[in-house]
């Protein structure tokens, strides 16, 4: 059996009348980078904070490295690193002092130079925290999370507010961590980030996991190929196709059976002597899959209410 670092069954979280998390299951294995993806308010942070031990759950089973995080045990905290969304560090200490302060809390911390190396703050080691740029502060957040050489690292929206260069830098950093065998639970609302970094992605919406798979499987799943082309306005496509036309007149068909549908389409075009200009076949990006799921989800909710 694979080595599970996080096991969650039937997790619920209720805030008064609001059900923020509605029964989710998760299983994250050692060495995996797992991304929890979803729009704001989907329940990502609530879920992660329950796993971190910052919040209690309303129902369900949770095991993190074999511990119940709700019990707030030091032995668990010594093995996990947490990078929260908000920075809260002493502004008058230097980068090296800040990391050292946190290293002191753990039995077997990572050497200071190694931490600085991984997060790319070597040149800032003697700089005061308050003088760091936003991106550098975020790196310091990660550094603090890494100080104890954790087996499991929680990264809550690590690149929100970064410029593109800083994001690339952070991605390299996360890849470095993965190479060190760390298990990482990443929350993000950037789809490209999940696609770029994660071994597996769970998409969360309104407190539920609506899809879970590897990024490549998510985007290559049957329904996720699109055929785009242009045809003269008067042409009537075979009735079986559900199509969407955008403002520029480009037609798009989403297909679950590419070979079959492409054949039907091209046969029809040849028979009717219609030319399919700019014909392209492409996989949907994770972003499109995500939007499609969001639409479906909204529809489902409308129908049920």
């Amino acid at each position: 059996m694979a080595d599970s670092v996080i096991e969650v069954q039937g997790l619920h979280k209720q805030y008064g009348e609001v059900e923020a998390v509605r029964g989710i299951d998760l299983n994250i294995e050692r060495g995996e980078v797992f991304a929890l993806l979803g729009p704001n308010g989907a329940g990502k942070t609530t879920t992660v904070e329950i796993l971190e031990g910052h919040r209690t759950r309303s129902a369900g089973q949770v095991r993190v490295l074999g511990f119940d995080p709700e019990r707030n045990e030091v032995a668990l905290k010594q093995r996990t690193g947490i990078v929260l969304q908000r920075t809260g560090l002493e502004p008058y200490l230097t980068v090296a002092e800040t990391i050292d302060m946190f290293r002191g809390y753990y039995p077997q911390p990572l050497p200071l130079d190694e931490v600085l190396e991984v997060v790319g703050l070597k040149d800032q080691r003697t700089q005061r925290v308050r003088r760091l740029s936003g991106g550098q502060q975020r790196r310091l957040d990660v550094a603090v999370g890494l100080a104890g050489d954790p087996e499991l690292l929680f990264l809550d929206e690590p690149t929100t507010g970064f410029d593109p260069t800083a994001r690339r830098g952070a991605w390299t950093m996360i890849r470095n961590l993965r190479e060190r065998g760390k298990t990482i639970l990443l929350t993000t609302h950037y789809l490209d980030e999940a696609q770029e970094l994660a071994d597996r992605v769970a998409i969360m919406m309104n407190g539920e996991i609506v899809a879970e798979d590897t990024p490549s499987q998510l985007v290559s799943a049957d329904s996720h190929t699109s055929i785009r082309f242009r045809i003269p306005e008067e042409a009537q496509l075979p009735g079986k196709f559900e199509l969407q036309t955008d403002e520029s007149g480009q037609v798009e068909i989403r297909t679950t059976n590419l070979t079959q549908d492409l054949h039907t389409l091209t046969s029809w075009a040849i028979a009717e002597e219609v030319s399919l200009t700019d014909l392209t076949v492409s996989r949907l990006s994770l972003e499109e899959v995500f939007l499609q799921l969001t639409d479906k989800f909204a529809e489902k909710r409308e129908n049920s209410s």
């Binding site: 905290k77 996990t80 302060m101």
Partner: protein
């Protein structure tokens, strides 16, 4: 043992952060002295009738400013910094680290208490040098006990108050709003023979500030023949401290409130 070591390390970082913010450090240290000098300039030449004895203005203001020092170091600064650190997410971050909560808190409290001792010493030495106010001798243990109980109580009340301060923007207003009026009615800034109405005196006796200033007045009284302990005053102060502690344990949180 390990946690105690962690608390000590915490102390070191607190001290370093304090030292590196010179403007804040200067005013923290200068604040009691500024009040001491101003109040002495205004009231120093007159005598003050404490009821059972008549003392010089300067002899009154040394223990009064020591009281102010306890309140500032323990109440004002602990409440403000706790709310700021909670809002900035520092407390939550510490909570996620394998540092026991009490070790973190102990580092904090030890630090403000040391700072309080340093400030009180400066005030007392300053009074001896410039105002010829005697440093307590036989009553020194009573002074130290009053300071210790005062420190405990005002730290506990600060943490309790912090639980009810919604955010760091509100902190200065709430903290000052709760303590400044008390400092005015509790024989810290204004001497007791200034014509304070009786009912004001009665109101102030409900709260701990007046009791601390009275306990310290006895400790600093050069004519005091006994050990200078004021069990009744110390009892009232402690009761407030215990109430503060209970409220803190019940309502304090480490989470930023948005």
């Amino acid at each position: 043992m390990r946690s105690l070591k962690l608390a000590l390390r915490q102390l070191k970082y607190n001290e370093r952060a304090f030292r590196r913010n010179p403007a804040a450090a200067f005013f923290t240290i200068g604040f009691p002295l500024i009040f001491l000098v101003i109040l002495n300039v205004i009231f120093g030449n007159r005598t003050i009738d404490l009821g059972d004895r008549v003392i010089s203005g300067a002899t009154f203001y040394i223990p009064a400013i020591v009281t102010l020092t306890v309140v500032n170091s323990c109440y004002t600064s602990v409440a403000m910094s706790w709310v700021y650190d909670r809002d900035s997410g520092l407390l939550k971050r510490i909570r996620g680290a394998p540092l026991p909560a009490w070790a973190f808190l102990l580092g904090r409290i030890t630090y403000v208490v040391l700072l309080m001792v340093v400030l009180a010493t400066i005030v007392v030495v300053f009074g001896r040098l410039f105002y010829d106010v005697a440093i307590p001798g036989a009553t020194m243990p009573a002074v130290l006990v009053s300071l210790a109980i005062g420190a405990f109580t005002f730290c506990a009340l600060a943490l309790a108050l912090a639980s009810f301060v919604p955010n760091s923007d509100a902190a200065p207003a709430v903290v000052n709003g709760t303590i400044l009026p008390l400092l005015f009615i509790s024989e810290v800034f204004i001497p007791p023979d200034a014509g304070t109405p009786d009912w004001v005196e009665k109101v102030s006796l409900v709260f701990p500030v007046q009791h601390l200033s009275k306990a310290l007045q006895t400790g600093f009284n050069p004519l005091e023949t006994g050990a200078g302990f004021e069990p009744l005053h110390l009892g009232v102060i402690s009761a407030w401290g215990i109430a503060g502690l209970i409220l803190t344990l019940r309502f304090s949180s480490w989470e930023p409130r948005v």
